[in-house]
């Protein structure tokens, strides 16, 4: 479906209106070269996704490589391939836990770094950037060595710790920008208007930081759900979705994995569409109000 759409799109942009052909030849080249190039680039990006989606309907037996016919079985019985469901569940659990911890701690760190002056403030700021700049392989191996030295049994718990560690950096960076743009006079006004510190935080600071916090949480979730390298070093026997796919790729990925991947993709797209539509509606409401 996506393939066809892409082809139609490409056809439409490569056939510009006849009038353009009468212009200078150099310009004519630009007139079709750029759209074709853009269409090819889009196609290149979309083909793997389209492939994954299409093959989620494949009536496969052991490996899901050649097309054997259309079926809805994979979608109706996702958990038939038990490992797919289990690893997906693990990934969701890890991502949710790591996101919650990282977003809470990261938001607190971001507020402290912007609002308060303390010793080694700039050093802490710099150190928080390190996990983002360090290669994941090094980070993963380092953590694995530490868990080994500390005698911690590897499993879902260690993966959550590992993911929280690198997610915090992203949360701090994202939320810090939001805190910096927040006028301190707003919090002062809250205190002046009989708001206790807790009330000021929940009624003024938090709602105003919320867009930044939500963005940070989504980023954390995506990073954690997607992570393979650090997970592979620190998960022990536990399996996450990326780890399962990696292992399964050697002997053939079950079609149920395609179903999960497609569902995640559709869910993400739906989320974006809903938020865009509701934002547009809010804009219209505001415009009508004035």
């Amino acid at each position: 479906m996506t393939l066809q759409e892409g082809a139609v799109l490409a056809g439409a942009v490569t056939n510009p209106p006849g009038r353009a052909h009468r212009r200078r030849s150099g310009f004519r080249l630009g007139k079709w070269l750029l759209p074709v190039y853009a269409a090819l680039a889009l196609l290149f990006l979309l083909v793997p996704i389209a492939y994954t989606f299409v093959f989620s309907f494949n009536d496969s037996i052991r490996s899901n490589i050649s097309w054997r016919g259309f079926t809805l079985d994979n979608w109706l019985a996702i958990c038939a391939a038990q490992e797919v469901c289990e690893s997906f569940g693990n990934s969701i659990l890890i991502a949710v836990a790591a996101t919650l911890i990282a977003t809470t701690l990261g938001t607190m760190i971001a507020i402290a770094l912007v609002r308060y002056r303390f010793k080694f403030r700039s050093q802490v700021s710099l150190l928080l950037f390190l996990p983002m700049a360090t290669p994941e392989v090094v980070l993963g191996a380092g953590l694995a060595a530490e868990f080994l030295a500390a005698g911690v049994q590897k499993g879902i718990g260690t993966v959550i710790i590992a993911h929280t560690m690198f997610c915090i950096s992203f949360v701090v960076v994202t939320v810090k920008a939001r805190v910096a743009s927040l006028d301190p006079a707003l919090e002062e006004a809250g205190r002046d208007l009989y708001g206790s510190p807790a009330q000021v935080f929940w009624r003024i600071t938090f709602p105003l930081l919320l867009p930044g916090i939500v963005a940070a949480a989504l980023l954390s979730f995506a990073l954690s759900f997607d992570d393979f390298i650090i997970t592979n070093f620190n998960s022990g026997a536990a399996t996450t979705f990326p780890k399962f796919i990696y292992v399964a790729a050697a002997r053939g990925i079950p079609a149920e994995a395609n179903v999960v991947a497609s569902a995640v993709f559709i869910f993400a797209i739906a989320l974006v569409v809903v938020s865009q539509v509701s934002a547009a509606a809010r804009q219209r409401r505001l415009a009508k109000g004035t």
Binding site: D183, A185, L186, E188, A189, G190, R191, D192, L193, Y194, G195, S196, Q199, R203, I204, P207, L208, L286, G289, T290
Partner: protein
């Protein structure tokens, strides 16, 4: 929380307040008493410590030394949300995620006061913005936002309302209108207002009492007309309107006047209007009190005469004309002449004399600084640097 609405304004008393920031002292030994129900203005250039004073009263900064009493109760150690004080911030600080009504009701809801919405509507009616109650602050104009900020503060009936240059961001016409409205609101609700501003006109038109602040100290305090007619220091004489200042040694005193020798000219000032009677005295006179003459005026005991000098600049400003007269040895004298069509009209280069009645002069406590004067619009950062240097040299000496 317990405390309900204040029945009326309360006294504010500041006792021996000192506020030190790392590197400089913002306020040095400030003592101030503001009676209940008055409209008090703290006037001074930026960086003089007036906003710091306000923040100390609100509880947003902690004093280094001293005590703050509101209505006789010591609030020095209490948190901002425990003080019966509300502030109208310079930037208004309206909560952008709440509607105008929610903004105004915020303080009432925090104190769990009954019928918060009704009272908020009432406050909005007072500032004539009730029809915009459902809007967000971003959808209002600057003047409207200012009025919401005012409503949000006065709806709580604080014993003391603090205004931190709330009119600074408005244009001149709106400013005048808001000055009148503020004054009317103050009279209507009968609260104690503490207004901080660097605009001397604003302070003089609105306040019952004005305190002129400079470098963390109060230079002079009194009714606007007293401050203008009888300034005590060079700073006040120059910051509040314009002044012509002349210095010289006292050469004679009588029971009710002192005579000062200014480069060979004898200037007489009433003893009651001079803050110093011995040694070198700086005397001053306001430009509008001076009279220009084309010939040497008749000498009399009732007036002082300077001249001859030459007019070096004439600028017409509608109601009056400003002349700059250069007098040898004395310097440049500023004269405001009302354009009433009867006085002489001097042009540049003409030889003139200036004279004024003895009772219009005043004698200052301190002397005109010989070094380049502290520019009145120096910012906080510069003052901080200067204070730091002074502090360091102080430590170096000891």
């Amino acid at each position: 929380m317990g405390q309900g609405f204040a029945e009326s304004g309360a006294d504010l008393e500041l006792v021996g307040i000192r506020k030190r920031f790392p590197g400089f002292t913002a306020i040095e030994d400030l003592n101030l008493s503001i009676p209940a129900g008055s409209f008090f203005a703290l006037l001074g250039p930026s960086g003089c410590g007036k906003t710091t004073t306000l923040r100390l009263v609100a509880g947003l900064e902690e004093v280094t030394e001293g005590r703050i009493l509101i209505g006789g109760k010591d609030v020095t150690a209490t948190k901002p949300y425990q003080r019966p004080v509300n502030t109208v911030f310079q930037s208004y600080a309206l909560f952008p995620h709440m509607s105008v009504l929610e903004n105004v009701a915020f303080g009432l809801r925090r104190r769990r006061i009954a019928d918060a919405t009704g009272k908020a509507h009432e406050a909005l009616r007072l500032v004539e913005l009730d029809h915009l109650a459902a809007r967000k602050p971003a959808q209002l104009s600057g003047g409207q936002q200012q009025r919401v900020a005012l409503a949000r503060a006065i709806v709580n009936r604080p014993a003391l309302l603090l205004l931190d240059e709330p009119l600074g961001a408005l244009d001149l016409k709106l400013r005048r209108q808001m000055q009148l409205e503020l004054k009317a609101v103050q009279e209507e609700v009968g609260l104690t207002f503490l207004h901080v501003t660097h605009d001397q006109e604003e302070a003089m038109t609105m306040a019952d009492t004005v305190a002129v602040m400079n470098k963390g100290r109060i230079e002079q305090l009194g009714a606007p007309s007293v401050l203008y007619e009888l300034p005590r220091t060079v700073f006040v004489a120059n910051f509040l309107g314009q002044s012509n200042l002349l210095s010289g040694p006292v050469i004679g005193t009588t029971a009710d006047s002192i005579s000062v020798d200014v480069e060979g000219t004898r200037i007489v000032v009433p003893r009651s209007r001079a803050h110093r009677h011995r040694g070198n005295v700086t005397v001053g006179v306001r430009p509008e009190k001076l009279v220009l003459g084309f010939g040497p005026p008749e000498e009399s005991a009732a007036s002082n005469i300077l001249g001859p000098g030459r007019v070096i600049d004439v600028s017409f400003s509608g109601v009056s004309t400003q002349y700059l007269v250069a007098i040898a040895g004395v310097g440049t004298i500023v004269v405001f002449a009302q354009n009433i069509g009867t006085g002489p009209v001097a042009s540049v280069g003409v030889e003139v004399w200036v004279s004024w009645r003895v009772e219009h002069g005043f004698g200052l406590e301190d002397e005109d600084a010989p070094a380049p004067k502290f520019p009145s619009d120096t910012d906080t950062a510069t003052i901080a640097v200067q204070k730091k240097r002074a502090l360091m040299s102080e430590f170096g000496d000891s």
